[in-house]
Amino acid sequence: MSTPRALRQPLALRIGSGAFIAFWCLIAAFPIFWIMVMSFKVPLDAFADKPTSVIFGPETLAGGQGLSVPDIVIGLIVLFFFMRGVVRWLPAKVQQYAPGGQLWFGWILAAILTGLAFVLLFFGVLPPVMQGVNGLLGSLGEPVLGLTTEHYYAVWVENEFYRNFLNSLLVTAGVVLLSLTVGTLAGYGLARSGSNLAFWLLILALIFRALPHSVLVAGYLPVFITSSEWLQPVFDVFGASAPTLYGQPWAVIAVLVAINQPFTIWMLRSFFQSIPTELDEAARVDGCTHFEAFRRVIMPVMWPGVITTGLFSFLLAYNDFLVTSLLLDAQNQTMVPAITGYFNRETSTTDQVEAVAAAVSITAPLLLLVMVFQKQIVSGLTAGAVKG
C-alpha cells in the first residue's frame, strides 16, 4: 500500500469504524428484512416473541406449509442469478433495444416484465418443480422451514389489491411523465436565462417547496367536491356535464405534479447548467430557434439528468399518503392509503399479517428500483446539494 505512514490508521479506529458500519447496516436493513419474514408466516408465528419462532415458523410448519432444504438451496440459487441478471444484464438490454428517445418507455416495460417474471418464476414455476424434486428425495425433502404465501393470496386476489396497484401505477406514471415534460422545459428556460425574473421564480419555487401538503389540500378539497357546480358554465359551452374533480385520478396527478414542480425545476436547472452553453449557441448560429436547439441538441444529451429527476418524481408519487388519501375515494385508492384500511379495522391478527404482506408488496418495487438505479439516486441527491 502506498498510503503515507502518517495517514495510516490505528487498528482500534479501523475496527471501530467497521463495527459502526456493520451495526448501521443491521439497523438499516433489519426492519425491512423482518417484515418480509413475517409476511410468510401464520399470525401466531409472525407476532411470536421469540425471534427463532418467527424465522422458522413452527406453527406454520405444523399447518403443513413449509420449505425443505433443497427448496431453500435451489430457491436461493435462482434468486441470486435472477438478481444478478437484473443488475448486470437488464440495463444493457434496455439501452440496446429501446430506440433513442423512448428510453423511459423501455425502462417501464422492463420493470413490468421483470416483476411478472419474478412472480411467475417463484410462484408459478418453482413450487410444482420442487414438489417433484422433494418427492424424489424422500426424507431429505421434508419441510423444515415454515412458509406460507396465503396472505399474499388473500391481499392480492381476495381483497383485490391489484386494483390499488393499477391506480398507483396510473398515478405514478402520470406524475412522472407530466412533471418531467413540464419541468424539463422550465428547467432549461431557467438555466439559460440569467435574468432577475428567473432568480425570483426559483426563490418562489423554494418557498413552495417548504409548504406542508395539508395546507394545499385544505385549499383543494372544498373546490374539488363542488367542482361539478362551478365548472358547469365552462362545460355548458361544449354541452357536456362537468365532472366532480374529487376522486378523479387525473386531478390527483395534476396536484402531485404541481407539488413536485419546485423540486423538479431546481434539480433540472442545475443539471442543464452543467451542459455547456456553447452547445446550443452553436445550434443557434446555424439558424435554429431556441425550441429547435432544445429539441435537436439538448434533448439527446439530457437523458441522465431526466432519468434521475424522474426517479425522485416516482418516489414522491408512489410514496404519497396525504394527498391521495384525502383526494381519492375508496374505489380509486392507491396502494399506500389502502394499507391503512387494514388496521383501522384491527379485528384480527390475520388482518395484521395481511397488512404486513401488503406492505412488503409495496416495498418490493422500491427495492428493485434502488438495485437498478443506485448510481443515479446518489448522483441526483448530490447534484442538487453541491450546486444548489
Binding site: 479501523r14 416473541d49 406542508p212 394545499l216 389540500v217 431556441h290 441527491l381
Partner: protein
C-alpha cells in the same frame, strides 16, 4: 434569451404552480374567515297521542336541515372573522392555565399539543441526523472500496422506503409482545408496553425519523468528502493536528455549506411531520400540526369535514414555515445583491 421565449419555456410550469399552489393558498386564507354549515330551520308542530276522552296534544319544536330544490341540504357560508382561529387556539383556557400556574394544562389543547410535538421533534432529530449522517460518511469513506457498493445499497433502503411503511415496519417490531419488546422486557426485567404512553411512542418516532433521514445526510456528506483537498489534510498532519483536530478544523469547515443545506431541508421536512402519526397510530397520544389539519379534513362520523378549522390550522402552520424561511431568504437576498448566484 428573449422574454417571449423564456415565458414559453417556463409558462406551463409556472401555470401549474400558480393554479395548484398559489391559488389554493389564497382560497385557504379566505376559507379560514368563513364558516359553511347546513341551514337549519326550527319547525313547530303539534304532536298528538290518543288519550282518554280527549287527545293529548303537545307542541314540539325541532330543528331540521332545510332541503334545496334538488333534495340536498342547503348550506350557507357566512363571515365569522377570527372565530375559527379562536376556537383553535383556545386562548381563554391558555390564559387560565397560566394564571393558575399549571402549564401542562395548555398541552391538553390540540393545537398547542401538536405545536409542542412538532417543535421538539424538529429540534431533537436535527443534531442526531447530522451526527449519524456525518459518522456514516466518514466511516464508509474509510471502508474498503470493494464493499462500498453493497453498503451504500443497504444504507439507501431506509431513505427510499415509503414513509408510512417504514414507520409501520418499526411499529411491528414493537407491537404487543413483538420481538423487540420481548427483548427489552428480558433485559430490563419489567413489563413494557411501547404504545401505551406518549413518551415511548415519541422515542420510536425520533428513532424512525433519524433512521429515515440519516441516509440522505450521508449521501450528501459522502459526496462532499470526495472533493476534500488531500493537501490541506496533509499539511494539517505536518502541523501536528491530531485525528480529532483534523475532523474539527479541516473536515467540518469543508462540509459546512452541505451541513447547512441538509439542516435546512431537514427543518422543512420535519416541520411537516405527518406519516409517523399515521404509521404508529399515535393520534390518541401524540399529534403534529400537519396531522391536525389532516384530521379536520377527514370526514367525521356524520360525513362532515370542518373545512374552516382546517384552513385556520393550515394558516397557522404556514406562519411557522414563513418564520423558518425568513433567515434563509434574507441570506439568499444578500447573496443575490452581491451578484453571486
Amino acid at each position: 434569451m428573449k422574454f417571449k421565449t423564456f415565458v414559453a419555456f417556463v409558462g406551463p410550469s409556472i401555470l401549474m404552480m400558480l393554479l395548484f399552489i398559489a391559488a389554493p393558498l389564497v382560497s385557504v386564507f379566505i376559507q379560514s374567515f368563513h364558516h359553511t354549515q347546513p341551514v337549519y330551520e326550527t319547525v313547530t308542530r303539534e304532536v298528538c297521542t290518543p288519550g282518554f276522552i280527549k287527545q293529548i296534544c303537545q307542541e314540539e319544536t325541532s330543528s331540521q336541515p332545510v332541503l334545496g330544490a334538488d333534495g340536498k341540504p342547503l348550506v350557507e357560508t357566512h363571515y365569522v372573522g377570527l372565530q375559527s382561529y379562536r376556537d383553535l387556539l383556545d386562548m381563554d383556557r391558555v390564559w387560565q392555565a397560566i394564571d393558575v400556574g399549571r402549564w401542562s394544562e395548555i398541552l391538553t389543547i390540540d393545537f398547542w399539543k401538536a405545536l409542542r410535538f412538532t417543535l421538539t421533534f424538529t429540534l431533537l432529530t436535527l443534531p442526531l441526523v447530522l451526527l449519524v449522517g456525518l459518522a456514516l460518511a466518514v466511516a464508509i469513506n474509510n471502508a474498503l472500496k470493494s464493499i462500498r457498493g453493497p453498503i451504500i445499497f443497504i444504507t439507501l433502503l431506509p431513505f427510499i422506503i415509503t414513509p408510512v411503511i417504514g414507520a409501520l415496519s418499526i411499529r411491528w417490531l414493537f407491537i404487543g409482545d413483538g420481538i423487540m419488546t420481548a427483548m427489552l422486557e428480558q433485559w430490563l426485567q419489567q413489563d413494557i408496553a411501547m404504545f401505551a404512553q406518549a413518551w415511548t411512542i415519541e422515542l420510536l418516532m425520533y428513532f424512525y425519523r433519524v433512521w429515515h433521514v440519516a441516509p440522505f445526510a450521508f449521501v450528501i456528506f459522502y459526496a462532499g468528502l470526495q472533493t476534500l483537498n488531500q493537501d490541506t489534510l496533509e499539511s494539517a498532519i505536518v502541523d501536528g493536528a491530531s485525528r480529532w483536530e483534523r475532523v474539527r478544523y479541516v473536515l467540518v469547515p469543508h462540509l459546512m455549506p452541505l451541513i447547512i443545506f441538509v439542516a435546512l431541508i431537514h427543518l422543512m421536512d420535519c416541520y411537516r411531520v405527518f406519516e409517523e402519526i399515521v404509521g404508529f397510530s399515535s393520534q390518541a397520544h401524540v399529534i403534529s400540526l400537519q396531522w391536525l389539519t389532516y384530521d379536520f379534513l377527514t370526514p367525521d362520523d356524520a360525513g362532515n369535514r370542518s373545512i374552516a378549522r382546517a384552513s385556520a390550522s393550515a394558516m397557522l402552520t404556514m406562519i411557522g414555515i414563513v418564520l423558518l424561511l425568513i433567515p434563509l431568504l434574507r441570506r439568499t437576498w444578500r447573496d443575490h445583491k452581491r451578484g453571486g448566484h
